[in-house]
């Protein structure tokens, strides 16, 4: 059986001639429906580049990406995407920003009012629907951005270090929110991060990327029960996963 997402010998080189920078690959990755896959690697290893190529938002130099055996040529539109710097626009309220996703897709706003309320409630933002992004804290903004990325029920969610700029406590809270929503809706998630703990806590599988030019060092299947709360994080198995990944990056001199 074919996999949901198949990435074959994908490679990216920026620039030409003397200024050439080999950013990523070649790498081959297969992802199944409903998997939560983390792309874990040091900064500058090309993991964001990989994510954008998978989404069809960036052309690859060579290799190919296929979704359900269909070749990706331009930007994929059945996705939800979220970055370290959020995509909330300052002239719309939290609710208006979630509706932006629907409006751009030409969906009927009336059909989604209840879903907007429900998704805001699931991340405890229901009282902030009419607030503007600049009235919210960084953590609340990222939670709102997550609702924006999820509201149209995409089959694939792409997260590019969405918690990168947040403090440790807020990160912990939002990880739990993400996990809760993922467990309910079961989209396929590609999560780009440089936090080992975050990757182990959230993912069903972690793909370790070497320093630039990023290649796949190995894949680790995380065999822990969901939801992975604090109890799971204190378990020996969890700590063993974290330690083994740390050893890999230690070998590369990253940590």
């Amino acid at each position: 059986m074919k996999n949901f997402i198949e990435v074959t010998e994908l490679k990216k080189v920026f620039g030409k001639g003397k200024d050439e920078v080999h950013a990523f690959g070649p790498a081959t990755i297969n992802i199944n429906t409903g998997e939560f896959v983390s792309i874990l690697g040091p900064s500058g290893c090309g993991k964001s580049t990989l994510m954008l190529m998978v989404a069809g938002l960036l052309d690859s130099t060579s290799g190919k990406v296929e979704f359900e055996s269909k070749l990706v040529k331009g930007p994929k539109t059945d996705i939800g995407i979220m970055f370290q710097d959020n995509t909330l626009v300052p002239w719309r309220t939290v609710k208006g920003n979630i509706e932006l996703q629907l409006e751009l897709r030409g969906l009927n706003l009336k059909d989604y009012q209840e879903q907007i309320y429900n998704i805001l409630k699931s991340v405890n933002l229901e009282d902030f629907a009419e607030r503007f992004p600049n009235e919210l804290s960084g953590g609340m903004q990222q939670r709102a951005a997550f609702c924006q990325a999820m509201i149209h029920d995409p089959k694939i969610i792409l997260l590019d270090e969405p918690l990168g700029k947040l403090d440790a406590m807020t990160r912990e809270k939002i990880r739990a929110d993400f996990q809760k929503l993922w467990m309910v809706k079961k989209p396929t998630v590609i999560f780009v991060t440089h936090s080992i703990e975050e990757a182990v806590q959230l993912s069903s599988r972690v793909i370790l990327i070497t320093p630039r030019p990023g290649k796949i060092d190995r894949e680790i299947k995380i065999d822990l029960p969901y939801p992975r709360d604090l109890k799971v994080k204190r378990s020996t198995k969890f700590i063993e996963y974290v330690n083994s990944i740390q050893e890999v990056f230690h070998k590369y001199g990253v940590i």
Binding site: L57, P75, I81, R105
Partner: protein
């Protein structure tokens, strides 16, 4: 309520400053024995100016027409070219560097030429106002439409929305704050352009009035003309600022919070 008291208080400070300023002006003229053909007292400016009020009001209308007409034309052209250059790589490589290099030329230097080409009427003044307003508007518009964040660009691409839809829902509102920087700068330039154009060649308008009365050794009337020019300039700038508050209220409140 507290805010209101604070506002009144800060308003009073300004009024007090102005009262002090004009009192100082009024009484330093006899004190330092300054001749009235050099610098007249404010009371004299009001007195002599009000005798000439009909003419002043008519000339304010003339200059206002040149200013507003030129400003609106510059606004339409500037935004049009700005958007075209932002979205066309050919124009970005041709027109854009051309505009940037012309920006270094003091546009007002063209004024005598325009007068000689188009005569003393309304048109050459409007053209000069267009010229001094166009560049700040177009250059800021180009900057505005090119500074959308990478993340927002990728976001709208992932929705598959058409270019037109994206333009009106994301690109245009995102560009407005920077566009208004140009609109405001141009609003300041507009009255300056009209006045200088009138200095160089005209038979009506506030610039014409000021140059004539100055030639007749009547600085009191010149100051009266300057007062009306200031009112005109403030009105144009005030209108643009008001439009900014109406069109992009979110931007104003953001600035306030960031302070």
């Amino acid at each position: 309520m507290k805010k209101f008291i604070k506002w009144i208080f800060s308003g009073w400070m300004l009024i007090l400053f102005f009262v002090g300023f004009f009192l100082f002006w009024e009484y330093s003229i006899p004190l330092f024995d300054i001749p009235r053909y050099i610098l007249p007292a404010p009371s004299e400016i009001v007195l002599k100016g009000s005798a000439d009020l009909d003419k002043l009001i008519y000339y304010t209308g003339v200059t206002a027409l040149e200013t507003v007409l030129g400003y609106i034309i510059a606004l339409i052209l500037g935004l049009g070219f700005g958007i075209a250059i932002s979205f066309s790589s050919i124009l970005r490589r041709t027109l854009y560097p051309f505009f940037v290099s012309i920006e270094m030329t003091p546009k007002i230097a063209f004024a005598p030429l325009f007068i000689s080409w188009f005569g003393f009427g309304l048109m050459p003044k409007v053209i000069i106002v267009v010229l001094v307003c166009f560049f700040p508007i177009v250059l800021n518009a180009i900057l505005a439409f090119n500074s959308l964040s990478n993340e927002l660009t990728l976001f709208y691409q992932s929705t598959g929305a058409s270019r037109l839809k994206t333009f009106f829902t994301i690109r245009l509102p995102a560009a407005l704050p920077q566009c208004f920087v140009g609109f405001k700068y141009a609003a300041i330039n507009a009255t300056v352009g009209a006045t200088i154009a009138e200095f160089i060649g005209s038979d009506k308008g506030l610039g014409f009035y000021i140059s004539i009365v100055t030639g007749n050794m009547r600085p009191d009337l010149a100051f009266a003309g300057i007062f009306f020019l200031t009112l005109l300039g403030l009105s144009v700038f005030g209108f643009v600022t008001m439009m900014e508050k109406i069109l992009i209220p979110w931007h104003i409140s953001m600035k306030r919070i960031n302070k």
